[in-house]
Amino acid sequence: MSIFQELTNRDQVFEFLAPVQSPVDVRHGPILYMEDVSVSFDGFKAINNLNLTIDDGELRCIIGPNGAGKTTMMDIITGKTRPDTGSVWFGSRHNLLTMNEPDIATLGIGRKFQKPTVFEALTVFENLELAMATDKRIFPTLTATMKPEYRERIEEVLEMIGLKDLRNAPAGILSHGQKQWLEIGMLLMQKPRLLLVDEPVAGMTEQEMERTAELLTSLAGKQSVVVVEHDMGFVRSIARKVTVLHQGSVLAEGSMDEVSNDPEVVKVYLGEEA
């Protein structure tokens, strides 16, 4: 009876007819759901039956030796690479495999690449302004004005990434670490639901690493954050849950301690460091 009522409810569209830009549905917990994903390049299986679930608001670290498929995994999530088999869902409503890169970005998946790329000729403030989640078509951009709520949002992010005093400096003069933070800030301006961060502390000083760890842990909860990192010390300092990738599939998953005591993991990865 209740089903019948739901179907006759005229002020609601059936779920399967709803437009794709409908909000991300995380009522069931996971924000990202990858099942049995495989992809091969010229016969080489880069991803092999990968199953991965990221919960809403979670901070997850992904580690694994070179060639374990970490970057390919990110490529699949952001729509750059299409898997041969498997399914990838964002929330329980959006099938990422049917969407292109800009659409996935607008939906709320932000990705930071290994090498920091910011707009060096523009100031820190302007960098954040451009990244802001607004209408990005030509004429709205041409006539755009700086509204107080935009300014507030930018100030908020400036505070978060610790570049408040540098807001009018051209991004080109920032240090490597500051550029990384600015880039994370630019992702935050897009109000993403899920942040994919590739090696955020590569080339950072000890101090900068600490700041980055603080930044990423403060983001978790509001956003889901997936960090791919090689630096074990850094991973230990932020991780609540770690996934170890090996040869394109999940080798182990759990807290840092559980994972580092797993004999399999020690053999393929941590062993190299010991």
Binding site: A105, T117, F119, E120, A131, A133, R137
Partner: protein, 373 residues
């Protein structure tokens, strides 16, 4: 409003002040000084200055795409010439039966080629409004089609420069052909009047000079408006990190296309104002060399400043007039030498030399100090 924002800016106010001041002074000297006075500006000079201002507008258009969007167009002469041809066609139709052959409809060159009727694409050019719209549309549509294909395929950098060069060269070869119906080799010339004013009178020449000055002012404000808007910052972002711009959600190819088309239209207007002042338009305006010269003006003046492009265009063309008067054969060497010297010693051009002094003053500002800390 994006178009009025530049008017509140100090640099634009100075630019417009200097430009309008110059227009007023030149007009006053031309009109009120006795002819034998040393300060008298002859009608020849007025037209020469008008020609320089056309070049300045073209240089601003090139600086918009090169300086702020990173697209080095080596074919902007094509848009300039198309605007010029649209204006030339209108002027040809204005001749009416005063041509050598006295045909009331057909321009002289068509009578000479034994054509019986006007080709379809000449229809409408007897009406000024239609011709003036075509001045914008012809270069605009070419830029739209060309840009759409190039930017969609993500052609950038040197490859794009080469294609633009090929574009203008191809158009030059096409316009050289008599069958095209644009006067072939000789182009369009022997104009009589524009909007009912006789082109040979001093008053019309002064009017054209002033119109060019106003067009330059409007063009400058439009470019400045784009550059200072958020879209301008997005263009700079496309110039410096195209992939990143795409990744934060902008359609890079559309930004490029929009700015490119605006720039082409401005170049078209410059060409349209150029033709009645020099009295001829022929395929040599399509020559690749001319387009490269425009780029040299912008480089000399200073890229990505807009006013630098104006300074560069005026200075180089003044130098050209002087040099080609003294020793015509040495001009290209002088231009080449100047270009080499500026790129080596003044990478930011003449404008860079000017802003270096003002930069020195604000190195003490807090943001700069923090930046170095």
């Amino acid at each position: 409003m994006w178009l009025t924002r530049p008017l509140q800016e100090r640099s634009t106010q100075i630019f417009l002040g200097v430009l309008f001041g110059a227009l007023v002074i030149v007009s006053a000297l031309h009109l009120f000084m006795p002819q034998d006075s040393a300060l008298y500006v002859s009608s020849y000079t007025v037209t020469l200055l008008g020609k320089y201002l056309c070049y300045a507008l073209l240089a601003v258009a090139v600086d918009l795409v090169w300086g702020y969007l990173g697209i080095l167009s080596l074919g902007h002469g094509a848009f300039f010439a198309l605007g010029g041809y649209a204006m030339g066609m209108y002027l040809m139709r204005q001749i009416g039966d005063r041509g050598v052959y006295g045909d009331p409809v057909l321009p002289d060159f068509m009578v000479f080629l034994n054509w019986q009727e006007l080709p379809w694409y000449w229809a409408g050019f007897d009406m000024a409004w239609f011709a003036f719209i075509m001045v914008l549309l012809a270069p605009g549509i070419l830029a739209l089609v060309f840009g759409f294909l190039a930017f969609r395929s993500r052609v950038t950098g040197v490859y794009l420069s080469i294609i633009t060069q090929a574009l203008t060269f191809a158009l030059m070869l096409a316009f050289f052909r008599n069958e095209m119906g644009f006067g072939g080799n000789n182009g369009l010339t022997d104009f009589k009047d524009i909007l009912g004013f006789d082109l040979r009178t001093d008053a019309t020449r002064l009017g054209l000079f002033l119109a060019t000055g106003i067009a330059l002012a409007i063009g400058y404000v439009i470019c400045r408006g784009i550059v200072t808007s958020k879209l301008g910052r997005v263009s700079v972002a496309c110039r410096d990190a195209e992939a990143r711009t795409r990744f934060i959600g902008y359609r890079v190819e559309r930004v490029q296309l929009f700015v490119f088309v605006v720039s082409a239209m401005l170049a078209g207007v410059a060409g349209a104002l150029y033709v009645p002042q020099v009295g001829i338009i022929n395929p040599s305006e399509f020559s690749p060399l001319f387009s490269i010269e425009v780029v040299v003006w912008v480089a000399l003046g200073g890229r990505a400043t807009l006013y630098g492009a104006v300074i560069g265009a005026l200075l180089v063309n003044y130098a050209k007039t002087v040099f080609t008067g003294i020793m015509p054969d040495a001009w290209l060497f002088a231009l080449g030498g100047l270009f080499v010297l500026v790129t080596v010693f003044l990478p930011k051009g003449i404008a860079g030399l000017m802003s270096r002094r003002s930069k020195k003053d604000d190195t003490d500002t807090p943001s700069a100090q923090e930046a170095t800390a």
